[in-house]
């Protein structure tokens, strides 16, 4: 049976530590924008932790929400790409094919979650940081769009390994970098086609909602939260 990769993020566990952001940068060879470019809005955080403040001091509260590519089933970024650089794989991932991308940036404008990023310049790493680049992930040159891939290189590595060992993939056998690095274990990744996987079980929780579900994008990521500020309740 084919896989359908999905994720669950428990917002009641997320501390906003942003270890996932750092891990993603390291795993996926994301170029650091630098303070000047970052202040101009050019940072490429494939996963970002959004912070929203509620209330006034001394009753202020902050909510953290990690937002990454939702790998939507009906992704609005896919039909608009003229070169099929953005398309849907049979395993439910929204793939970004770097060498097809000519940088029209239509996908980024169509994405309601704002999780797509452009390489405004050729990325550079000061020596010796160039030695820590991940050889499993390509380095994107200027003009190419990029985004979270659910660490597809890890997915493929695990699938190839399992196939060569003539066995099925086990739930929790591998994780994307963000999930792996999450200290409070707020993030869970797995196969939504397997009803017994951790991610399927959590996705069935009554705390589960999807981000901007009303748009009909059918995201693959569920967010767990006891009470939603969108519902107007303050727990």
């Amino acid at each position: 049976m084919s896989h359908k990769w999905g994720m669950v993020i428990d917002l009641d566990r997320c501390t906003g530590c942003e270890a996932c952001v750092v891990a993603c940068h390291a795993e996926n060879n994301i170029g650091t924008a630098g303070p000047d470019q970052a202040s101009r809005g050019r940072a490429k955080h494939w996963i970002r932790v959004e912070r929203y403040w509620e209330g006034e001091f001394p009753n202020a509260r902050v909510r953290f929400q990690p937002v990454l590519c939702q790998q939507c089933d009906d992704a609005p970024c896919e039909p608009v790409c003229p070169t099929y650089a953005s398309y849907h794989t049979p395993e439910g991932l929204n793939a970004q094919v770097y060498n097809r991308c000519i940088g029209t940036r239509f996908c980024a404008n169509a994405c309601p979650y704002e999780v797509r990023f452009l390489n405004f310049y050729n990325p550079q790493w000061d020596k010796p940081l160039h030695l820590q680049l991940n050889p499993d992930v390509s380095v994107r040159s200027v003009g190419i769009m990029e985004k979270c891939t659910f660490c597809v290189q890890r997915i493929r590595a695990a699938e190839i390994q399992a196939e060569s060992e003539k066995r099925e993939l086990k739930d929790g056998e591998f994780n994307p970098a963000c999930v792996q690095s999450c200290a409070p274990k707020a993030m869970v990744f797995g196969d939504l086609n397997d009803p017994n996987s951790e991610v399927s079980r959590l996705a069935r929780s009554n705390r589960a909602t999807k981000l901007l579900a009303e748009l009909g994008t059918k995201p693959s990521i569920s967010y767990l939260q006891q009470d939603s500020w969108q519902n107007g309740k303050n727990g």
Partner: protein, 464 residues
Amino acid sequence: MAKTAEQIRTDLLRPLFYSGPGYWLAVAVTGSMVLAGVFAFGYQVYHGLGVWGLDWPVFWAFDITNFVFWIGISHAGTLISAILRLANAGWRRPVTRCAEAITVFALSIGAIIPICHLGRPWLFYWLVPYPSERHIWPNFRSPLLWDFFAILTYLTGSSLFLLLPIIPDAAAARDLAHGWRKKLYGILSLGWQGNPKQWHRLESAMHIMAIAIIPVAVSVHTIVSWDFAMTPVPGWHSTIFGPYFVVGAIFSGIAALILAMAFLRKFLHLEEYLQPIHFDHLGKLLLTFSLLWLYFTFAEHLTAWYGNDVSEMNVLWATIRGTFAPLFWIMVACNLIIPFPLLAIKKLRTITGTVIASITIVAGMWIERFLIIVPTLEHKFLPYAWGHYTPTWVEITLMVAGFGMMALLYLVFSKLVPMISMWELEAGVRKAPIIRRRAVSFEAAATAGAGVGQPEPLATDVRP
């Protein structure tokens, strides 16, 4: 009009053979604008799109504003040439070629912009459907591909629509010119003779093209609007965008046409051909479209405001009360408040009045395109992802180069081809007889031994 055919020819062919120093100065100025743009583009390709002001989340700004703007300007020719031709409005005759030229050049500039705005512009040809060694075709579900086909069709159609009526005028220039010009017009005229068969074929072809080009023009700007409307983001996902953009396009197109006509009238001394009545008629059309633009803008914003959707309201307030408020109200002033009295009051609807109105309208419509694109991109659904945009010198230079290119193409064109269609003007001057010249004279048939069905010498004719 008391002009003879000879006078018409002399007046309209004169610019082809004589150029003053003012002309060369204009060429130098616009040429430098274009060169600056080429330099800026080279700089952008070398360093990367980072030299623009784009950022996350505003990935389109000046580039697509200019694209939509120029495609919009290109709707001038279609309205004047095609619709007025089909409506048999005689006053269109001196105006058609200026209008068609605007269309072709604006469309060409508009077609180049999507190539220049790519992150990897050297790969623009991947948008072209051809059997590539990568074994992949472009994605026809993408509005950008619809843009490609629509602009291709419209550019082909309008170029032919411009070039076909030039053939007889080029033949005139060929016969009246010497030296290299004679050779040039000899080629341009395709060996046109001017026999009745050719005239009828030409007029039938123009008629069909006029019928065909109107739906194409409507579809082009509708498809351009769908670059925005096909996304689910607030402020863009609106069904009204198709007609809204088409109306705005024709609006800016008429304004551009008035400016071009005023320019030609002054510098090519065409005062007797482009008369105040033409500007009066166009001014009335412009007024109509100003009110239509108001209608669509009001409908668009009222629907957003009344619906009170959170994300839509963020975009709306940013546009009319927030950071973009100054631009928004300048746009309203430019598109409605200033032109309205100038165009509605007959005493003010002079050449000067329509020209002032047109300048403000062209500026206002550019701002309108900008305000459609950037506020939405700055304020999408997730507030953490809101951003800000400021243009850089590269984008401003490219924009200026676009205007320079338009002016330069027009200047060059006005030297190659008479800017007023001579044969159409003459054909309009001489009214066609209401009753066909067909007579039956039995004496002539009997004495001359005419063949069956041959036309006979004339009896009386009736001149209208």
